[in-house]
Symmetry: C3
Subunit: 274 residues, 3 copies
């Protein structure tokens, strides 16, 4: 794990958002062609400075100055695969988003290779996390057929073997470091009707890595997306207007909404029993 | 043509939309960098599950499980060209969108090669269809200088020689299998002021290939886009808000709007006379 | 510089917009993956016909018929770098947008090489222009740490040594040909919270190259974006809705808003003193 990480404080989700908006962390994204625009706008909205620097020969240079890095395997071209290796070794804390890993051979091989490079956070849906942990055959493309709880054991195992925080996204998000489990509740089903909901969540986690530790970062990002999607759903009339309102909400959501009653539940005891 | 296709029923446009929203077909897209996001959101809005899987070594694997595939030649990188060949041979019914074919040599050569791989549907504007049929020199980039009727003979010839349904998009869409011509009327000129209108139409056709035969699929997709763009135009104040409202409308349009009076006109006699 | 340019008239910003909407110039873009969609929609909104033709073997062919070309170095893949060289030699007047040049080696080398190919306009933020002129070490990714005036001397030098008009974007834009300085005032800070604001401005300059000389084109595009972003800010509630409203405003803004009092200030005397 990056030496830089060790100096960052543990923060509650609301305090982390305040810190993020104040720090404007530089976030490098190596991500898929479908969501680059939405992801960059989401990062700008939360207060980060995004840079989609994904070229061999540049990605490592940039990662050496970035505050957080996202490596998303949605459409990993040959150049992006090489850039991902450079960025993972660049020194900044980074998030691995193993999109559609399992059935598809190119990204699956790369994801396994990148695990050895020490991601700070691994974010995926239940199928992706299970496939990465060697449990199950993966989902139907980017869809997950199961909810996060079905991947709980796989997530814990993956966290323990890699040292990463593992975040399983779904109707109720599960975040674990292998011992401690936190759930984040809320959000809107409309976020699953827009491409980039999960991908931008990984990017937001990378942004929070610029201001807090990986466990706090994964929780704060999940709570922020849940709160912002609730606001967006309340003012939109379909997936198109929801996507627009979601970006607006990321920029304007009150930090207190991230720690609303029942939003973040910490289940240390249950995790420690295993 | 794919063996899977033979088992799918002929459906009217309204019934096809009901079936599509129920089936959530898995749609693989190899498409251009300009419209990936808009296309994925359009597919999610109509009820499909999009996957922009366009890597060599993965595209064929994915096509073997997809319910429909789009191969759009808007910005065909070397990796996408190889992936397109894999996907065309993957076994799923697929749509060819020969963007800007004619003047530009790389995509023109690939489009001709792909014709031999048996697309279920070929969708383009009049200039593209004429160029692909060897009639005319192609348009001005993605623009077409002529309307669909100017490409009627070329479309019929192309349908007869390839076995594909040919859909010529324009103010009034023309869909032909070489014998039978159907026109789809309606829509909004605002759809031509937004990038991805035509490209997302090809993707929607690929989605309908998951629930009905190619002729019905091309008609249903054209009718859906026409109806949704009318709704969107009625609530928008420019191309930006139109694009957002169009996605909303794709998700909410009542199936009956696809078969409103005068929307779909079937001209069997005229086609059979030739 | 392109022979075609010599026949184009000097136009005020309002007259240039009228001419642009009438001429529908064909604009080729070799640009980054983050902003292709937003850029194409911005070009369609201003009345241009965009084509993101960025393949080796096609880019030069297309540039020979385009009315203006944008070469943006945001995410220059190997294929795009080759295509950029082809397009720069294609004969159409072109805009160079040296995104994040300075620290990142691949794009920096390409930018310097392309300077010798004779861009009509160079557009960047202060850090990029200073880095390209050999003055300063570049910014923090796409961010600029300084305002345009800090790059005034570098911009003038770059203009004189390359023969290009240099446009430095910021809160108050600076446009210079090395002797004459023009400032364009206005706009909205929200444009900096949306990705593609600067990139689409470069594309709009390429569109204006189809109807007027480079100096007039750079001024008109800057004034158009300033005016449109003011309109958009007045009707939006965050960066998401601002982006949508900005596209609407590009399509509907009254030409007179481009020459509102104080918008464009011409400082010939100051420039000539140097």
């Amino acid at each position: 794990m990056s030496a830089r990480l060790s100096t960052l404080p543990i923060l509650s989700a609301d305090d982390a958002l305040v810190a993020l908006r104040d720090a404007h962390p530089l976030v490098q994204c190596i991500t898929n062609a479908v969501v680059t625009n939405f992801t960059a706008n989401a990062l700008l909205a939360v207060g980060a400075a995004p840079a989609m620097c994904d070229l061999p020969g540049e990605a490592g240079v940039f990662a050496s100055v970035a505050n957080g890095v996202l490596i998303n395997l949605g459409t990993p071209t040959a150049e992006q695969r090489e850039a991902a290796r450079e960025a993972a070794a660049g020194g900044a804390p980074w998030v691995l988003d193993p999109v559609a890993v399992g059935v598809l051979p190119v990204r699956t091989a790369l994801a396994r290779e990148l695990l050895d490079a020490g991601p700070a956070i691994i974010r995926g849906n239940a199928s992706e996390i299970r496939a990465l942990a060697g449990d199950g055959a993966g989902g139907r493309g980017v869809d997950s057929v199961d909810g996060p709880e079905a991947a709980r054991d796989a997530a814990r195992t993956l966290a323990r073997t890699t040292g990463a925080v593992v975040a399983v996204s779904g109707e109720r998000d599960l975040i674990t470091d292998g011992l401690r489990d936190v759930r984040v509740t809320g959000g809107s089903a409309l976020l699953t009707r827009v491409t980039g909901g999960g991908c931008s969540l990984g990017a937001t986690m990378a942004a929070f890595l610029g201001v807090t530790d990986p466990f706090s970062a994964a929780i704060a990002a999940s709570a922020l997306h849940a709160a912002a999607s609730e606001i967006a759903a309340s003012v939109s009339s379909g997936p198109g207007s929801f996507a627009t309102a979601f970006i607006d909400a990321l920029a304007s959501v009150d930090p207190s909404a991230l720690v609303a009653a029942g939003r973040v539940t910490d289940d240390v005891r249950e995790g420690a029993q295993q």
